[in-house]
């Protein structure tokens, strides 16, 4: 096990605490760079979605994980970003400009949502953000002169510096990856500076934050704006990846998917956004497998165990019917959330920390290490 001897204040500021981090993140980065030349086109496409979802996840983590303001309206922010991009594209605005515009406009709208949210807490804030999402969905469907209503909008090919970037090209993947990496670096910078600490302070005790000189309202609005802006940038990329957008793509289900991203990834750290995004995006191939291959496999297994052909075919049909049920995806999401909240509140990243510690301390790891005991319970709290 490595012991860090801190000799400089810099040791607590730098992003990579020691050389081990540089090596492991370097290897990861190299793998991500060669990925387009090693993986199938389907997996590459999924990887692009991982980047986009992870970007949204980072935005949501800043708001929900670090500032403690829950939001079920991020699909709406994504929609605003996507539609801004699609709308400006019609006037031959170059990509860098409408990409920025998508982020800034969404950030502005995020700030506007932040104002009414100042007076709301907990479940009421969730309800307010849901209603915001419904309002946006409705506007997208009704404001036909701009959004083409339920017909949806076609998003043209992305041109960056004069060259075409098709949505399934390695270049587009690198663009999404770059946006994700820049977002993460920006978020990390924010979190190690006064603003990030103010966010955490507001999450843990608004009264104390106020009496330490933090303008709670201002920082909440800032948090909303930053979170929305990041989601807006992701929305622009999302529009390009899908090449067609319509209001029914940005529903409550999508907002819930984003919440699942950070819930399953873990709200402790930005790692959670990426791990959660991988999980949620890769659940689709898993469902496809469940639908296409699983029934056959189980039928084959049951015949080897001596079950008659007709009976095996019957089992196969039943499983196939179950796997293609309509609400299955939603049900699986629900089960996953419950399981994680009950058994792994720290998320995948928390699990990873435990596994890492197990090997670092081997054979001395104690199961109770992460069980935090409540030393005393607050009797009364100012909110």
């Amino acid at each position: 096990m490595r012991f860090l001897f801190k000799t400089d204040y810099e040791d607590d500021i730098r992003l990579f605490p020691h050389s081990g981090y540089v090596i492991s993140y370097g290897v990861l980065f190299a793998l991500l760079l060669i990925a387009p030349y090693a993986l199938s086109s389907y997996l590459m496409s999924q990887l692009v979605f991982v980047c986009i979802y992870a970007t949204v996840g980072v935005g949501l983590l800043i708001l929900t994980g670090f500032t403690g303001q829950a939001s079920l309206g991020h699909a709406a922010f994504l929609a605003v970003g996507a539609y801004t991009a699609a709308y400006l594209q019609q006037f031959n605005v170059p990509f860098p400009l409408y990409f920025l515009a998508a982020g800034l406009l969404t950030g502005l709208i995020g700030a506007l949502v932040g104002f009414p949210a100042l007076r709301l807490q907990g479940i009421y804030l969730v309800i307010a953000t849901i209603s915001f999402a419904f309002i946006v969905e409705e506007i997208l469907a009704r404001w036909e002169s701009v959004t083409h209503g339920n017909e949806g909008m076609r998003v043209k090919m992305l041109y960056l510096f004069g060259s075409a970037v098709p949505r399934d090209s390695p270049a587009f993947y690198f663009l999404c990856l770059a946006v994700l990496v820049l977002t993460i670096v920006g978020a990390l910078n924010l979190l190690r500076s006064p603003t990030g600490r103010a966010f955490v302070a507001i999450r843990d005790s608004e009264t104390a934050a106020r009496s330490m000189g933090i303008n709670v309202s201002l920082y909440k609005v800032k948090s909303f704006a930053i979170s929305a802006a990041i989601t807006g940038f992701a929305g622009c990329l999302f529009a390009h990846k899908l090449s067609f957008i319509s209001p029914e793509m940005f529903t409550l289900q999508l907002s819930i998917e984003f919440i699942i991203v950070i819930l399953i990834g873990g709200t402790l750290s930005l790692h959670g956004a990426v791990l959660g995004a991988i999980f949620i995006v890769m659940i689709d191939p898993f469902l496809t497998y469940l639908k296409d291959d699983m029934p056959g496999v189980i039928a084959a297994i049951s015949t080897t165990f001596g079950i008659s052909k007709e009976r095996a075919a019957h089992i196969q049909d039943n499983i196939a019917a179950f796997a293609s049920l309509n609400g299955l995806k939603g049900a699986i999401y629900g089960v996953i959330i419950i399981v994680f909240v009950l058994f792994e509140p720290l998320g995948l990243y928390g699990r990873w920390l435990k596994i890492k510690l197990f090997f670092q301390l081997f054979p001395l790891y104690k199961r109770a290490t992460f069980k935090r005991q409540k030393i005393y319970v607050k009797s009364e709290r100012n909110r």
């Binding site: 910078n189 924010l190 500076s193 103010a198 302070a201 104390a208 934050a209 330490m212 935090r372 009364e380």
Partner: protein, 252 residues
């Protein structure tokens, strides 16, 4: 003019007069204790000063400036820091980041500078850290720097809250029951620290306290409150012998 002055401060919740026309002054560099039975309105006065509650009537002046209308976050910027009776720390953050939040009123960096973590931000972070380390050394908090608050015992939390208030380099500090829940040794440490705050840093202290031996040891003056009204004011000995105070405590 006095350093800090409360004029006819009142807070009424309907018919209940939690604080009723309380006036007092705090001189620069003194330790003033507020005592009184439960529900006398001691903590409420603190909440009025730090603007958690809005006074029904009355005025508060600090360094010749009226602060009654200031928003709550401005109070800290003026140089008034406080601690809470039921510790209000940032539970899921490390001790270090809790203390750095105390430095917030001195932070001047802009959002875009922080996003890029410019050299100026880095330099100011280190400068803040230096000040925090001075407070850590003053209060013997070295072993806890990287610990999460949620895993620390009560006594240590109490000290960390004091440290967080000190990190903001206040000129006036409001301590809400600094010794409640502390052992005899910890209370002793606390009394030395409060005295040192006054003599070494020149901080004016206004505190609410129940432990009369602590009050006697360190305060210059004492105010006794009961049912939202001032009963007596003066040196600790004077106040304790005041017939109204005896009556309020013993019910005679």
């Amino acid at each position: 003019m006095s350093y800090f002055r409360a004029e006819k401060l009142s807070l009424h919740f309907g018919g209940l007069k939690a604080v009723d026309a309380v006036s007092f002054v705090v001189e620069k560099g003194e330790i003033l204790s507020i005592i009184g039975p439960n529900g006398a309105g001691k903590s409420t006065i603190f909440n009025l000063i730090s603007r958690i509650n809005r006074p029904t009537s009355g005025k508060i002046f600090f360094e010749d400036q009226e602060i009654t209308k200031q928003p709550p976050y401005d109070i800290a910027r003026l140089g008034i820091a406080r601690t809470f009776q039921n510790i209000e720390l940032f539970e899921n953050a490390t001790v270090l980041s809790n203390l750095l939040v105390g430095r917030h009123r001195h932070c001047t960096s802009q959002l875009w500078q922080e996003l890029l973590f410019l050299p100026s931000v880095r330099a100011s972070e280190k400068a803040h850290r230096r000040r925090v380390e001075q407070v850590i050394e003053f209060l013997d908090l070295e072993p806890y720097r990287d610990k999460l608050i949620s895993g620390l015992p009560y006594g240590v939390r109490k000290v960390i809250e004091l440290a967080r208030a000190l990190c903001s380099e206040p000129r006036l500090i409001l301590l809400d029951e600094p010794s409640s829940g502390l052992s005899v040794e910890e209370t002793d440490d606390m009394s030395f620290w409060i005295r040192d705050m006054k003599t070494e840093f020149g901080i004016t202290v206004l505190m609410v306290e129940h432990d009369m031996s602590l009050v006697n040891r360190i305060s210059d003056r004492v105010i006794a409150l009961s049912a939202g009204r001032v009963l007596a004011m003066g040196t600790p000995a004077e106040v304790q012998q005041h017939p109204d105070v005896v009556a309020a405590y013993l019910g005679a």
